[in-house]
Symmetry: C2
Subunit: 600 residues, 2 copies
């Protein structure tokens, strides 16, 4: 162990000891004195029963003042070796509260805390039965009337939702619902997942034919069962669909296929929901205590409402219904939109011999896949990261340890380097008329995703087609009207079309809640996603966490779950722990509920 | 690093350096001088293209003399830390040959080699595409006419076996065929697996209802995709069935369900097989170069041929067809046999209210599950072993490092302790008339398994029922005759019966080869399994390895694969490497083919 590492370890250990001692004495002044002038504390459920970041000493003092008595934090212990670089000392630690065990990460500057992350890992007395606590499987001994695993499993599946009611209903059986369902299963929380398609994984299978994940395999593991090490870097959609289907079987989820939630209403007196479900065409009512909307960022297609759409004689559909380019050889295709789906679909149409025009209505952030993997994800999610001992858990926590307030600043150098490295590429795109951006503040792709969930394309080839003019570009216009055989633009120009694909994105989660439950409750809950950066589609005020995601909302018993595979994996843990705690009657006082913000 | 570890490391490193230098100079005398008087070298494919153990300096000299020129072994390097205990120094190492990379394990006594294990891990130039060599999935760039993963997968599945021929046909889609199929898939060897049942995993699902694996989860992992850490210790049969089915999908095996091989014949001139297959009732011919019989130890039910069986008016079936006890409440059941299946079935019948008699024809080895796990398996396959850093791979290699010649001696103390620990239990069983053994030489369960694959019960509760007289026991007799409503025994006694279950084991793999191919070829190949210990059902001469298992046989292109989940996992690697090498035209001179031994 060299001296720097050793000193770092001492610094972290000392800080933790001082912090614990101040907390034990309820000496909030002493505790806050351990933080730097600029400081952030991000808590995932362990102190706040919320997903919450507080900033500066006074917010930290307020948090401690509110929660210390109930939370009773203790046993802060450094975990592994600390390290120092560029004046910042980083370390891991474990800790306990009255109700739970947790894991944390800290960054010190000059011995005081700059960033603190505290996360709940398990509830005491309700640990997942894994490792040496796993079930025995065979019940040894003699048990007249014994039931086998299959008997139990079939009986549970037959009764749940009729004779017995699930504690949770999860609407949406994509990666989000499945990851959450797996965690709830391991925690023993009776849950039904509703999936409108016929098979698990169909939400991927049914999308356009050429779709592959744009995120790499190391970023995409589900909980408990990592992909085998030959899994492709970018999973083809049907392969990830099959994986999800197998995962549902392996994890023994109560996963109802061909099941659609048609309405839900909350009975405050009973503290339960009545969820009307069409299962295999038959209507029934589920009465869970908790309702989780896991239809995610791509739940409801957002169809535009252009004049004349009803008169169009060709074929038109939303990108989510696009079957792939095979049937369109020699056809004139117009794709409205310029983000991921639009690019993928344009390239696929072009490869199949269609005459394709992409309609770019506003600027788009383009990041070449290889460059993005190398610069933005490689440190945490790559073969190299695995070789460096950065497990998926560790990567997720490092990722989570950066407060959203400062994340943009930390992201900017990545995209500055990207701009430089791929300068020729960007120059070619601009020459072709493509409107580029790197986010309003040049903070790039991941910030766009967190702020608005859209506005970018991870280039896997389509941009070359755009730059080369093979995919024609209609840029800086909006659609004015659809005619029988053409699209008319705001600049008065007109494009003949046999096919129009509306790659116009997806409706909001709040909009889905309005449709499923009521506008009143959707308004009561407010906007989902975005953290209030004050950039396009992410209005202020600043909240510091994604609004309404994976944490309590202003509607009792209503939760939102979603995001990419990384988020579905990581945040499903905290959502599952919150649900389990409520099922077990553990006190869960929520600190720092966000204010409600309506959509603009 | 303490002194003992350091000295051990030096001892192993020095030995390896001396060995490499002797081999490089083709100085066989110097090489053999590095071995102790009593010495064993077990090679899994890397030096011998065989599974072979040689004993003593002269056999080692003969092996080296035969193989050195072609194998060109080199780059022997210690791997990790060595350790010393009870005068034996153990260490791991890596090495290379002309064709392959390998991993080895060595035990030194006084600086000379007592046991040496050399194993092939991968063929140079034909490494499995994993980790950083994994496929990209999405093909970035522009590819007119591009096919998706699903297109490729469907096209392959549609063509293989009709337009194109597989290199390998594996008969039997249980854990053996599946594990081998997964390895061949990763190695790019076109393979079809034939499974007679409707679904993957049915070979487990269709067995008696109460069946659970008798081996614990740590022993049972398949290659590449370990069970998640909540998996039960002893998998219920339907759960392992579902797992196998998911595994087949995840690994993209060409797995033909409802497909039965009805005959196979070898065309020596063409070097290929003609395998007649009934697939979904339709006959077709497959023409692979290699045919692997993976029906395993429990492939064909062994039905006895007692006089009068045809006249029995009740229900009678082999244990493999037994549905479980539910339908037999109040019935008189006679179970012929006293091994695992017999015990499980008797207990299940008793639990369901049947009047059960177990017929013990010869003595049985009983090991209580908990004791067996603790004493025999715990060091390598347990939660504790995992915590100690013993990965599945490492456990398999440690297990493989013990030559069969000395294994019995090393096993005896385990069973001596078992006898003592469970003395009261055994006394109760004997008092009830149960005939016990611990193997002819008291070497216990695993040796019985290796020698004859039968003769034991891992007790999970049934033995208490026997000891308590709840399962009635008819011991030390054979069956003389079956009458309309009873079973008559060699001692003249007679038992009324509504149900007879023949828990009389399974036919030999050689017998299956005779049935599928021809008696001539079965005779040419000889006995499978057993290593010639000279104990019951395992006649001499001593061969030192399981006969015909996972290695070349005397019939070109015919291979046998089988065993429990541990063996299916571990030995499938060596079988797959042998097959891949042949497909790629790598020279594979086989050293030390075993002599042929017919069944007695």
């Amino acid at each position: 162990m060299d001296a720097i590492v050793s000193n770092s370890g001492t610094a972290v250990s000392n800080w933790l000891a001082d912090f614990e001692s101040a907390l034990a004495q309820r000496d909030i002044e002493a505790a806050t004195a351990l933080f730097a002038d600029e400081c952030y504390w991000r808590d995932l459920v362990s102190f706040t029963w919320n997903i919450k970041t507080v900033e500066g000493r006074s917010e930290i003092a307020a948090l401690l003042d509110a929660v210390l008595e109930a939370v009773k934090p203790r046993h802060f212990l450094i975990d592994g070796e600390a390290a120092e670089a560029d004046g910042v000392t980083e370390g891991w630690f474990s800790f306990e509260t009255e109700a739970a065990r947790g894991r944390g990460h800290i960054r010190l500057k000059d011995g005081t805390c700059w960033t603190l992350l505290t996360t709940m890992t398990e509830l005491k007395g309700f640990e997942e039965p894994r490792g040496s606590a796993r079930p025995k499987g065979a019940e040894h001994g003699v048990h007249p009337g014994r039931k086998t695993w299959l008997d139990h499993r079939r009986e549970e599946a037959a009764k749940l939702g009729s004779e017995t009611q699930p504690y949770c209903v999860v609407i949406g059986g994509g990666q989000g619902g499945i990851a959450l369902g797996a965690r709830l299963r391991r925690l023993g929380v009776p849950t039904i997942i509703l999936e409108k398609n016929e098979r698990g994984g169909d939400s991927w299978r049914k999308r356009y034919k050429s779709l592959c994940l744009h995120d790499p395999v190391w970023y995409d593991h589900l909980p408990y069962l990592p992909f085998p090490d030959h899994w492709p870097v970018f999973s083809p959609k049907d392969k990830i669909g099959d994986w999800l289907e197998s995962y549902v079987s392996i994890m023994e989820l109560n996963y109802w296929t061909s099941s659609e939630a048609i309405s839900a209403r909350h009975d405050a007196a009973k503290g339960e929901w009545a969820v009307e479900v069409l299962r295999d065409g038959k209507q029934l009512t589920l009465r869970p205590k908790q309702l989780i909307l896991a239809t995610g960022m791509s739940g409801i297609a957002n169809m535009p409402d252009y004049p004349g759409m009803d008169k169009f004689k060709g074929e038109q559909h939303h990108s989510s219904k696009h079957p792939g380019g095979e049937a369109y050889k020699g056809k004139k295709a117009v794709v409205i939109g310029s983000n991921n789906s639009a690019h993928d679909i344009c390239a696929d149409l072009w490869e199949h011999g269609a005459d394709v025009t992409m309609v770019q209505r506003s600027s788009t952030h383009i990041a070449r896949s290889d460059t993005l993997m190398d610069l933005a994800l490689g440190g945490l999610y790559s073969e190299q990261a695995v070789a460096n001992g950065i497990t998926t858990d560790k990567a997720d926590l490092i990722f989570a340890s950066i407060p959203y307030r400062i994340m943009a600043e930390l992201q900017k150098p990545i995209y500055a380097e990207m701009k430089q490295r791929d300068a020729d590429f960007y120059a070619r795109l601009e020459k072709a008329g493509f409107m580029l951006d790197f986010g309003e503040d040049d903070s790039g792709l991941f910030m766009k995703y967190l702020r608005r969930g859209s506005g970018y394309y991870i280039d896997v080839g389509a941009s070359d087609l755009v730059a080369d003019g093979k995919i024609r570009l209609k840029s800086g216009v909006s659609v004015k009207e659809i005619k029988e055989h053409s699209v008319v633009f705001s600049d008065g120009s007109e494009l003949p079309a046999d096919l129009i694909v509306y790659a116009t994105g997806y409706g909001s989660m709040n909009g889905w809640a309005a449709r499923l439950i009521s506008q009143d409750i959707a308004d009561k809950v407010g906007k989902c996603w975005g953290f209030g950066s004050g950039t396009k589609k992410d209005p202020r005020p600043f909240e510091g966490e994604l609004r309404n995601m994976w944490k309590p909302t202003h509607q009792d018993g209503l939760w939102f779950h979603g995001g990419n595979l990384h988020q579905s994996r990581h945040y499903s843990l905290y959502l599952a722990l919150q649900l389990k705690a409520r099922m077990e009657g553990i006190s869960t006082p929520v600190y720092g509920m966000g204010a409600v913000h309506h959509l603009h």
